[in-house]
Amino acid sequence: MARTELIARYLAAVEQRLAGEPLDRDRMLAELAGHLDDAIDQRVAAGMAEDEAVRAAVAGLGTHDELLAAVRANDDEGRRIMAFTRWTGVAGLVAVPLAVAGTVAWNWYVAMLALALAAAAIVGILAAHWRSSRRFVAAALGVCVAGNLAAATATVGQDSALRAVGVPALLTLTALLIVGYAMLRAGVLPTAAVALVLVGVTILLGVNTALYVADREPPLLAGLGGILAVTGWVWLNGALASRRRDLHPAAA
């Protein structure tokens, strides 16, 4: 096989392996190509057959996995963004009980707060996508569309107040549950914190529903639940700090 073809094949494989990684891919590939040219020339000049020289030069660069690990280990900016995403993920988790409470209580302010927190979570997810993984944004956008359709369908025939609060709140809830699950899978959020929030949501939902059926005012309890969730998270965040890891295990 010709030298140029072997190099092109190697670089194509590298490009595929580094897809989605935050780096100047063209520059990296150009530098690797130049490196291979120099390495092959030096080996050929030392008397090695060209095919053998190409194989040795490619081997000298390291495996694709080693290159990928080096890219991730040196991505300091990506790690800062992951830290940002982690905290916006917390905001997203807090938004879940607030969205539920706002919907059940028909409380516009609680729902708006939930939406503001959800917006922070979406920004974090988009930042993570921009520098790291496409999976987060795919999950967020897909669920936003599906959640919106489901919420609009579920509230057909209801009065305008319910639709105004319920649609965005349900949308937030569904989107964040899925995104939170994706972040959990990626190791950004510790299991115990997610469990705490889910338990909080369940309790809030039950209490608010009972109060609403009894025709009493639930928003105060809803706000209290939100504060409880934040406090619980802050405590857990400290207690479980050592268990968290970046999206990129190689950089941990």
Partner: protein
């Protein structure tokens, strides 16, 4: 030498190699190998992400230049990089001195 051991000091090594003269990636890997008498051998491709990071940190600067008729990205040490290298050299010297003090003056066993 284990690659992990080398990685812990890679920044210092890269800055030191580029200190003497602006060099491209392949030249840096060859110089590392030559100065260490082949002891410091890393997968050569893994040097580039580290070089890019050092450039983002302002310790290195680079430009495309023509070297031996080929277009190469040539790295050079910045003023900030020179200061950082000075600090790293001092830290390394202190570390070596401290470790040597602990290990004592026993003769090293010959490799079998």
């Amino acid at each position: 030498m284990q690659a992990d051991t080398v990685r812990g000091h890679l920044d210092t090594l890269l800055l030191a190699v580029v200190e003497d003269a602006p060099t491209h990636g392949y030249g840096i890997s060859e110089e590392l190998r030559r100065r260490s008498d082949e002891a410091l051998a890393l997968p050569e491709g893994t040097l580039y992400p580290a070089l890019h990071r050092l450039e983002r940190q302002g310790l290195l600067a680079s430009d495309w230049e023509t070297v031996a008729g080929r277009r190469r990205r040539v790295y050079r040490l910045t003023r900030k990089g020179q200061r950082a290298l000075g600090v790293k050299r001092r830290e390394w010297q202190e570390f070596v001195t401290a470790v040597q003090s602990v290990l004592g003056g026993r003769a090293w066993p010959e490799p079998s």
